[in-house]
Symmetry: C2
Subunit: 374 residues, 2 copies
């Protein structure tokens, strides 16, 4: 039986480990005993390890046929580099800030397949665009995505499994888009618009920096990505931002030197923290427009996924983790052999691979509804 | 010529000193050379002094026939106590948290007239109620008051000459009202309602703790005080409050221990700071209802005062300072002789004194429009 090691057994890592443990021998490595304790009663072998140590990491991944990367974003790039250096194939969802394609030469040289950004967005959004871009001339790509709690609590009506500092980082970083073939940069949180969704009603969408590898790997003249929140969220975030609560220059708070951003993150932590038992959902809409075999074509994908009450798996874990486990199955079964850094748009360009991923998702009740809108 | 010493030469103290310097020999004492420098070219004698030193304070006030108290609220009570101990009459606008009436016995024993809370609200609001309560049975008293900038800047549309910590304190302290003869306590920022004003349009009013001495000095079965802000202000304040930004338990902000309230005050400081050149206004509406000589009576006072572009005096200084200088003139001319702590409702109960104050205000173009509304 082939061996998989999952690096990081957090909210998503654990679900990926469990998902793969039916068909593979799976070890989940994490520094936190609490995280590992949650694997009790599953077929996954827990391994306590400090993954920030290159030496420990090397020893762990060398025992595996394939590695799943699910470490915190701040550790993601270094971890990927080590796994490539160890010559192991990897499917990664760590969402690190660095450009994975900088490791492309190293991965090719090592004969490694490294599927990166293989979650929901980035991840499925890339795969869907990759699929269509390979068979039509795409004029416009738009992705709207968000993960939200069902319980709407004043004022932000938002919770996330990551730290407020990471969320705020997304609210600060300017958004890079492609407009008429040119890279344009827009302020974060700009262009707020309301959008209606069948299952949840009206949400608001705003600019965020989520296109990542798509900015360079595909030639589509118009591409945007927007984040979805409950209406009103952005006004309260702007109120904080414009009042200086995200500033990074130290201020004097009655004799204590502190960065406003750090104080704000600490204050928001307990209000924004998504707990495993919180009922939440993932919503994503993708629109691909262009010309296919001489005819105008526009296709829309809609995902609305909620926490699975049977397994207890959060929607965030399901929608992010299952694309990665599907990709892992493709790699291990020899159906995905491309060497080097492989963002999901490359995977999607292969229709058999794309359909295999969509089938694996559907088998886990993660359903992308597809319809032609022109 | 009688001698007056003004303790505190800040935004209001300085204007009071200048106002009185036409008729009296006025000294303004302040610890800040910057504040004193602004007196250059006036008839006021500047005196640099640390008013937190009882000894220094005693020496300064003993040279005066009357003292004006305009120190920061945190120093107000101690300053008043010292002035009474020195046997000097005082008119005070320091707005300290302690109960001035606790010094009533000391003031009577010293033969001192101490007019306290003698600004706009508290101040004119008390005086107006005192005037009517002495000549009718008052069933209901309501006071709506706010000072605002003309320039409305997202998100709070607010500026004040005091520190954000003092403003936030007013947004935290529960509001004490009288309802059907009983003391009731309501959360700060509650009962938000929109109100229209001829000069500025719609403002929002919310509960705040401003009745102070009126809670015990007059027998009116229904009394409320509300603060006025631009519509929407309260929602943004509630967003901060409910998210924990006003909390006073220390948190860990990336290794720095800080109280959220202190960090919030420091962040808001530069956004909320009213500068002397900022164009601002004061708006107040007072409603007194009841029965006078067997007939139902309801009277409404409306104040809308703006910064005086000729003198440069802010509306805040004009509306707060001129009631105090008018009261000072009454004391010095022997028209107000009551000994002890004298909140403005006692002054207002004397119709001659009340009219004298209103005339002094009108002479300075601070106009209370009065109309019967029933």
């Amino acid at each position: 039986m082939k061996k998989i090691v999952v690096l990081g057994s957090g909210m998503v890592g654990r679900i990926m480990a469990i998902d793969l443990s039916g068909d593979f021998e799976v070890t989940a490595a994490d520094v936190s005993p609490d995280n590992l304790a949650k694997l009790e009663g599953t077929a996954v072998k827990p391994l306590r390890a400090d993954l920030s140590s290159p030496k420990a990491l090397r020893g762990i991944v060398e025992a595996a046929d394939l590695v799943i990367g699910a470490v915190p974003g701040s550790m993601g790039f270094a971890t990927l580099r080590e796994v490539i250096a160890a010559g192991r194939d990897i499917v990664d969802i760590s969402f690190f800030p660095e450009d994975a394609l900088a490791l492309d030469d190293a991965a090719r040289a090592a004969g490694v397949t490294a599927v990166v950004d293989c979650g929901v967005a980035p991840g499925m959004s890339n795969m869907i665009l990759g699929y269509h871009a390979a068979r039509m001339t795409v004029h416009r790509f738009a992705c709207y995505v968000g993960g939200l709690p069902f319980r709407r609590e004043f004022p932000f009506e938002y919770k996330a499994p990551f730290s407020p500092a990471d969320v705020i980082e997304e609210y600060i970083r300017p958004a890079r888009y492609i407009e008429n073939g040119h890279l344009v940069v827009k302020p974060a949180l700009s262009d707020v618009e309301n959008m209606d969704f069948d299952e949840i009603g009206t949400l608001e969408a705003f600019n965020s920096d989520g296109l990542r590898s798509l900015l360079t790997t595909v030639k589509v003249p118009n591409m945007i990505e927007k984040t979805l929140r409950y209406p009103g969220h952005v006004r309260y975030i702007l109120a904080l931002r414009d009042s200086g609560f995200f500033d990074t220059d130290e201020i004097d708070a009655r004799g204590r030197r502190v960065r406003p951003l750090d104080a704000t993150s600490a204050v928001l932590f307990k209000h924004w923290q998504l707990h495993e038992e919180d009922d939440e959902f993932t919503v994503m809409r993708i629109v691909v427009e262009g010309v296919e075999r001489g005819l105008r074509k526009a296709v829309q994908y809609d995902l609305f996924d909620r926490r699975d009450r049977t397994t207890g798996f959060s929607s965030m874990a399901r929608t992010t983790g299952f694309p990665a486990t599907a990709a892992a199955r493709l790699v291990l079964s020899g159906r995905l052999t491309r060497k080097g850094i492989c963002p999901p748009e490359f995977l999607g360009a292969d229709p058999a691979a794309f359909r295999a991923v969509m089938d694996e998702l559907a088998a886990r009740n993660v359903i992308y509804r597809v319809k032609d809108i022109a």
